[in-house]
Symmetry: C2
Subunit: 578 residues, 2 copies
């Protein structure tokens, strides 16, 4: 009999212990009276509390943390807290970030009596918000009964990891202290990726290998769901083993080791810095990993291969061509695929490969900088790539950095974090706080390097103070182009609505409390290549400690060359009569 | 035949013209690619654009603006924008602020093809968000057909005003430019408060007057929905005419002219600075206007009169006692009630009235300040009341200012804006931006004076930059008590989760771009009564021009005396075993 057989723990401790077991080190959130009591049990369960400035930001931070650690937790109050965070959770849902959202609600008697409690709509319906969350989470645990609560918690947490999507725990304030058995905590949650029926898996592997062996002009196209699908290593190994021309989609721009000779860069149809379409348009096989094929991630689907030549590898299915789909778990499948791959049977190198451009060649071909010239979007992302090191995590906010980041050349074991479909303004600064924290907890070295436009920065700027408060290490490059440049080039080049307030960005650390000498803050204004080279070459700057805030001035109408055409097209579509 | 009979306008212009007709002068929001084209038509329709830093803040700002002007408009993009704003709209719904939320969505063909467009969840269901908004708005206009669009717009806008609650307009980007007839714009929208059937109204008035005439110990209790119900003047007149002891609830603390001799202050049961219960507990008639009886607004319902002695006057009904309810429109009813009130029949003054305390007496009885003493919550709100002038709008954020603001003594024609049930952290700073703008547009003079705790300030701080950007006039008193004091006193007095980051608040204007000499910014640090007196006495400070940011330091555990007991009780309830 287990030593804990008769012991109990309170429900809050039960939840927090489970989170700890899953690898959560810190819980993000904002306190509220319905959550206060539960928060007392965080530290004893081995968790840290990260108090964000508001709940939307806390949600974004949890999203970022989850993208690094594969799990995160957000704790908000009822109504106001959870609704504020909803946009972040919806984004985590859309982009497969596994966030456990715990909501501290009113005591159960308020539900029973339909009381007009604060944060309710005042009409006695206290389940409004939990109902909404059903649409944005893959499991909901309504913790109203001590008997069922532990099982509901366990089931929700397992779903969170298995589906890599948010789940929702509804914790009434009077359920925090109820006693539940401790013994289930001895059984680890079941989060191992499921295996497939070997015979089915083998036969599908063989079928796909046949397609691969008999192809003449194949390519690999890698998108960002490869990371939550847990097959980053496998896809890299596959790209390395086959030697096939390999491209990323924007969301998947950081999956493949950028130094791999057969990795050419991000495929953005006709709108990228490089044009791979002479090869991809005439290809006879596209191996598409972890796709999230939104309009923005594929330049209006122009970078999506034709269905009839595509094998799409998804988390729980593999689609061959336009009409065949197999339900299968990808992790196990990929291990088998790699195990059975016979490289001697691979097609001989297609002659067109020789003329394929690559982002590395593009960088090498850059002219030397003119020291006093202003920084331009076309070469900024290429040039700054030399600053990156293995294990760094690079974060690109929406807007011009998302586009520019396609040109990064990433060392092995780096991560690129960006958005594929959600594209919420301001998402990535709080996410960077969560990412920097996750990276610190992992303790594997590497730096957090973030690029964000000025308009985005304003949306969630106060989370810089959370970075400072918890003494996290981060680089923040503000790509300051004086407003919503991305939108200017779609429509309204000089329209007032594309302007933003005239902030003095480098004053931010002062407001946000970086006055403690124990935490190093560097701020830099960068207008020219010379300015940039000077700071990048500085050892103190390179070491990654503390906060480095860099205000990089760029022209207000500058975006990477070919992307200008994409934005123009988007604008034309916007103006088209119906 | 009207001159516009055959003329058309585009749908965006139609909407904006209607908004203008209703008194909207400015539209709040954040641009997004789905909204850009429509924004071109704002200015030509006579509207200004206020670009907020994020959509939640824009929603809060629109909420504040609506509370002053009786209508406001918010324009956000699809998905990310509307979900970010949801918490603000839900608050407007709960507290009856009439906000028109226009959402620019993808073109109609994306709906038809279930395309994986950006800001969607990626599953082809593009109506997820509009479905959610049904729960938080009183009308939804899905503008997918040119033929029906104008009528849907008109109906929604009429509902917005009639119900004083948010409505939702879903505007696909390809519907912006469709042509609709111009002629309906000549017919004003029907927003006059409906009248009642005279006979029914008269008989109810008589019945209620009978109750009033035959009462022995009556009182008037005024709550905040009196303002959206449009009967502020009538209730003031009624209080003046009857001379009955009159109290506010916290949310209604600004409805009654604070200089009215029979207005005693805010009734907060046993937890206010004044205890009116010796009178109210033995009263035989409570006339309750505009009630929104949440737990927080009534101190756990302890300030709510017994049902059997209550007549509750609501927007569309009057409830007499525990079981009788009459459907009736309040505005017309109140005019009739006032018209038929015979003051000679009123009960003689109850002797208990003489011993009723009042907030004015409390202020008079205050000892002279000790110049070098720190500012305390118990007397700050009383003492600063002398700074207020007629036509000022006073705004109290949630937390200690909401509670302290109960002690304000308000001159005639001032407004007090606070929250009754929603109590969302950070709500009121963006709301203050909207309020200051609305006040400027009304052009009736008066100043916007805002009190907010430091924790709240951090939640939405960037909207200070919107105040600066549009050169709005506002006072912001940061009640700086080093964290979430309100919550500390509920639970976790020294808990880390009740701390906030250590900001240097007075640096905010610098970061936020107040470098333009054309806009005057004053910042002040206030630690003692002397400091406070010095600035309040300064003419430059009094004039209300520009931004006056005052960092008022208070003790981290200070709240008004009797309210401490309320928070302690809340904490005990939180800790009670179920």
């Amino acid at each position: 009999m287990s030593s804990t057989a008769n012991r109990t723990v309170n429900l809050a401790t039960y939840i927090f212990t489970r989170l700890r077991q899953l690898g959560v080190g810190s819980v993000h959130g904002v306190p509220g009276d319905y959550t206060l009591r539960a928060l007392d049990f965080l530290k004893p369960a081995g968790l840290c509390w990260i108090g964000n400035c508001n709940e939307l930001n806390a949600g974004y931070a949890a999203d970022g943390y989850a993208r690094v650690k594969g799990i995160s937790a957000l704790f908000t109050t009822y109504g106001v807290g959870e609704l504020s965070a909803l946009n972040a959770i919806a984004g985590s849902y859309a982009e497969y970030a596994p966030v456990v959202h715990i909501v501290g609600t009113a005591a159960r008697k308020a539900y029973r009596s339909k009381a007009m409690v604060h944060h309710s709509l005042g009409d006695g319906d206290l389940r409004v918000y939990s109902d909404i969350y059903k649409r944005f989470t893959v499991a909901q645990a309504s913790l109203f009964e001590p008997k069922t609560a532990p099982k509901l918690v366990d089931a929700a947490l397992e779903q969170c990891v298995k589906e890599s999507r948010p789940v929702y725990l509804e914790l009434p304030s009077d359920m925090v202290g109820v006693h539940v058995p401790e013994s289930p905590l001895e059984r680890p949650l079941n989060i191992t990726p499921p295996s497939n029926i070997p015979k089915e898996e083998d036969s599908l592997v063989d079928a796909i290998l046949d397609c691969i062996y008999s192809s003449k002009q194949p390519y690999i196209l890698v998108d960002g769901l490869v990371a939550p699908d847990g097959i980053t290593d496998e896809v890299n190994e596959f790209a390395r083993a086959t030697g096939f021309p390999t491209f990323g989609l924007t969301f998947g721009g950081g999956i493949i080791d950028g130094t791999l000779p057969n990795y050419h860069g991000v495929h953005a149809g006709k709108f990228g810095s490089l044009d791979f379409t002479p090869y991809t348009d005439s290809a006879d096989l596209a191996l598409l990993f972890g796709p999230l094929l939104s309009d923005t991630n594929t330049q209006g689907w122009s970078a999506v291969p034709r269905k009839d030549i595509t094998i799409a590898f998804r988390r729980k299915s593999i689609e061959i061509g336009a009409s065949t789909s197999h339900c299968l778990h990808i992790k196990s499948f990929m291990r088998t695929l790699l195990g059975r791959l016979n490289t001697t049977k691979l097609p001989t190198q297609n002659p067109k490969i020789a003329s394929l451009p690559s982002v590395r060649k593009l960088a090498t071909a850059l002219p030397p900088i003119e020291p006093s010239s202003p920084i331009d979007q076309d070469s900024f992302y290429l040039r700054i790539s030399s600053f990156f090191r293995p294990k760094d995590i690079i974060v690109c906010a929406n807007g011009t950095p998302l586009v520019g980041g396609r040109d990064f050349i990433l060392p092995p074991n780096t991560k690129l974090i960006n958005s594929a479909i959600w594209l919420s303004v301001g998402h990535m600064l709080p996410a960077t706080q969560g990412i920097a924290l996750a990276q610190q907890e992992l303790g594997e070295g590497g730096r957090t390097i973030f690029f964000e436009g000025d308009g985005s920065f304003q949306a969630t700027a106060q989370e810089l103070s959370t970075i400072i408060r918890y003494k996290l290490n981060a680089y923040i490059f503000i790509v300051n182009n004086d407003g919503y440049t991305f939108e200017r080039l779609i429509h309204g080049l000089n329209a007032e609505y594309n302007d933003v307030a005239n902030w003095q960005y480098l004053k931010a650390p002062e407001l946000f409390g970086a006055t403690d000498g124990s935490y190093v803050v560097q701020t830099h204004e960068v207008r020219t290549w010379d300015d940039l080279q000077y700071i990048l070459g500085n050892e103190e700057f390179q070491n990654g400690k503390g906060l480095k805030l860099v205000n990089v001035r760029m022209d207000r109408e500058d975006v990477t060359k070919n992307f200008r055409a994409a934005l123009k097209l988007a604008g034309q579509q916007l103006m088209a009569e119906p």
